[in-house]
């Protein structure tokens, strides 16, 4: 069953500093219980997508086209009480700033308790145990500033999952954590969501780090979804040139003696709808039609957003990248 349905969503921010097009026709569906990772650089529109799913776009954001549906209902059409109800019963959020996500003036046990159906001590402690926290008695009594970043994020996850939402949006949940803790927290997120049947939407820039914990990868670029699929497919047979570039830019993937390549150029800052393919200026395989026409997603499940999808496999494979190193 489709839980989240993003249909050709375009969102623009109008700020005193200028206009920026964060989403430029993004489409994505998430089924109940699916664990989805949205991968993209800053500015790719993934955070805007995540916030839009919770109806949390700031006042400066303007929806130009498209829609975003949760449980078949547009979050843009809900009045405030119904939007609150949707958030309370069906949605959850975890942010990068774990310590800042908790109210600094109140003990974390109390903060967790007020979101439980039976807000007793035993329930608080068992929820803290569920997120694999040690010494739960002490943690429950602690103030947020007394916890490490990883512990605070576990508490934040426990609170976000308190009512077993249908969808949990996690925006860079581990970007501020130490490397060793990162994987523990990602595994916890994935396991907790799987146990509850909660769909997970992780927004991250760490393509390979997240792959082990999700059932589907979604690659975003320039405010659009450019490729999606099971992690193995995307990692082993990337079809969009941007995805290929990302994989080459990952440390540890290069062969001994090879060079770590980065994608030349920088991500686009769109001020309006892109005329052609947003990646074209940085693409090694660009042809004339890339600039002229907006690419449409491929007909298959991967929904690759590339004019040359299908042609490229004949040109190069991943192991056999072009000589030109830019």
């Amino acid at each position: 069953m489709t839980l989240l349905d993003v249909r050709d969503l375009a969102v623009r921010y109008d700020t005193p500093h200028g206009v920026s097009q964060a989403l430029d026709g993004a489409s994505l569906t998430v089924a109940a219980g699916e664990l989805v990772a949205v991968v993209g650089e800053s500015g790719s529109g993934k955070s805007t997508l995540g916030m839009a799913a919770l109806g949390l776009l700031p006042a400066s954001a303007q929806r130009l086209t498209g829609d975003l549906l949760v449980d078949g209902e547009s979050v843009f059409g809900l009045d405030p009480p119904r939007l609150r109800r949707l958030r309370r019963t069906r949605l959850g959020l975890v942010l990068q700033d774990a310590a800042g996500s908790l109210d600094p003036t109140r003990r974390v046990g109390r903060q967790l308790a007020e979101h439980l159906d039976r807000p007793g001590r035993a329930d608080v402690l068992s929820r803290l145990e569920q997120v694999r926290l040690p010494d739960v008695e002490r943690v429950a009594r602690s103030y947020p500033h007394q916890l490490s970043g990883g512990m605070a994020q576990r508490v934040a996850i426990a609170i976000a999952l308190a009512r077993s939402p249908g969808l949990l949006v996690a925006d860079e949940p581990t970007a501020a954590l130490d490397t060793e803790i990162k994987h523990d927290v990602l595994r916890l997120l994935a396991d907790s969501c799987r146990e509850r049947g909660t769909a997970l939407l992780v927004l991250t820039h760490d393509l390979t780090g997240i792959a082990a914990y999700c059932t589907r990868l979604v690659v975003m670029y320039g405010g659009r979804v450019v490729e999606t699929g099971p992690p193995d497919d995307v990692l082993e047979r990337p079809r969009h040139p941007y995805t290929r570039g990302l994989l080459h830019a990952v440390p540890g993937q290069e062969t001994v003696g090879g060079t770590l390549r980065s994608i030349a150029g920088s991500p686009p800052v769109l001020t309006g709808p892109s005329a052609g393919c947003a990646f074209a200026p940085r693409c090694e395989f660009r042809v004339d039609r890339c600039d002229a026409r907006r690419p449409e997603p491929s007909a298959d499940a991967a929904r690759v957003l590339c004019h040359r999808d299908g042609e490229l496999d004949a040109v190069v494979t991943l192991d056999e990248v072009p000589e030109v190193s830019r």
């Binding site: 949390l56 939007l83 959020l93 109210d103 003036t105």
Partner: protein
């Protein structure tokens, strides 16, 4: 300086140091005034000999450090000196007047802090919901720029037109008739709190807007909490510290305002006592009332500092670290 005990020690030490500085400044300032204490008695035409006699009588012939120490020693032991005019102990004269001023200041605080906090939170929340709080800003500016005596005069006029008979009634000590005393003090306290309410409201509103930018507020909204729940659970405690701080700072403004308000409403308070003492060059009384006012301000701020540690647990342990 970690831990609640260390923090308390730091706050108390700072307060004590401030008071030492205040007493020194007051002492030096008033002893540097040309004319000297004795001329209050002697006028301008007295002879050198009579000057010397009176100086010796008042102990003014002793070295200044010695005079200072004996003055401060007196304050510490509850002896504020003797009025030159009435020759009575200042402590006795203050005992009659201090309750009136304290009642006025406390009542004004009790009005201004909750009223200002409520207005500020309302303005902050309205602002968050995208409603322009232009009205709040105008009201705030008005409260901050209209002088106390104008407010007091307008209130007296309005209340008397409305036939509120308490207006003309004279001061009754709180101890004799708590209810009647408070009723009579209401109008003066309202006039006095007008300015403070505006300041508290503006501080609170800014604090609400600052708290709004914190991630935990985004999280609360994302959890579907209602505006009222968000205010009660998260906003109140997080803006409490700025409110307590500004409430303590306002003590200074309230004491200053009390000088005028006591005049307008004919309340026999410390303010009136101090003004009369200045006019009569009753130096010991001036020194005592200035030190008393400073002490009230320092104590209020020390209490606010200590309360801050309980309100915000991060301050209780150590100074806030930038995140």
């Amino acid at each position: 300086m970690s831990g609640p005990i260390g923090r308390t020690a730091v706050v108390l030490a700072r307060a004590a140091a401030t008071m030492v500085a205040v007493t020194m400044l007051v002492f030096i300032a008033l002893h540097a005034v040309p004319g000297g204490f004795e001329s209050v008695y002697l006028g301008t035409s007295a002879s050198e000999t009579s000057h010397a006699t009176v100086r010796a009588m008042l102990g003014l012939d002793r070295p200044l450090p010695e005079q200072y120490l004996s003055w401060v020693g007196g304050i510490v032991t509850g002896d504020l000196g003797t009025s030159l005019l009435s020759s009575r102990p200042i402590v006795d004269e203050l005992a009659v007047r201090l309750p009136a001023t304290a009642q006025l200041a406390v009542l004004a605080t009790v009005i201004s802090v909750p009223a200002g906090a409520a207005l500020g939170i309302a303005a902050g929340v309205a602002n968050l919901r995208g409603r322009a709080s232009g009205l709040g800003r105008v009201a705030g500016a008005l409260s901050a720029s209209v002088p106390d005596f104008v407010v007091a005069t307008v209130l007296v006029f309005v209340a008397s037109q409305a036939g509120w008979r308490i207006v003309g009634a004279s001061y009754v000590p709180f101890a004799e008739d708590p209810l009647g005393s408070t009723a009579r003090m209401l109008l003066p306290a309202l006039s006095l709190s007008f300015f403070a309410t505006g300041i508290v409201a503006r501080t609170t509103r800014d604090a609400v807007l600052a708290v709004r930018a914190e991630p935990f507020m985004t999280m609360a909204i994302a959890r579907g909490e209602s505006t009222w729940q968000i205010v009660r659970r998260h906003v109140l405690r997080n803006v409490a510290n700025p409110i307590v701080t500004i409430g303590a700072v306002n003590v200074g403004a309230l004491l200053g305002g009390a000088l005028i308000i006591e005049r307008v409403f004919a309340i026999p308070g410390v303010g009136e006592y101090a003004v009369n003492a200045v006019n009569a060059r009753d130096y010991p009384v001036v020194m005592a009332t200035v030190v008393l006012g400073a002490a009230a301000f320092v104590v209020a701020n020390a209490l606010a500092d200590l309360a801050g540690g309980y309100i915000d647990p991060r301050l209780g342990a150590r100074r806030r670290v930038a995140r």
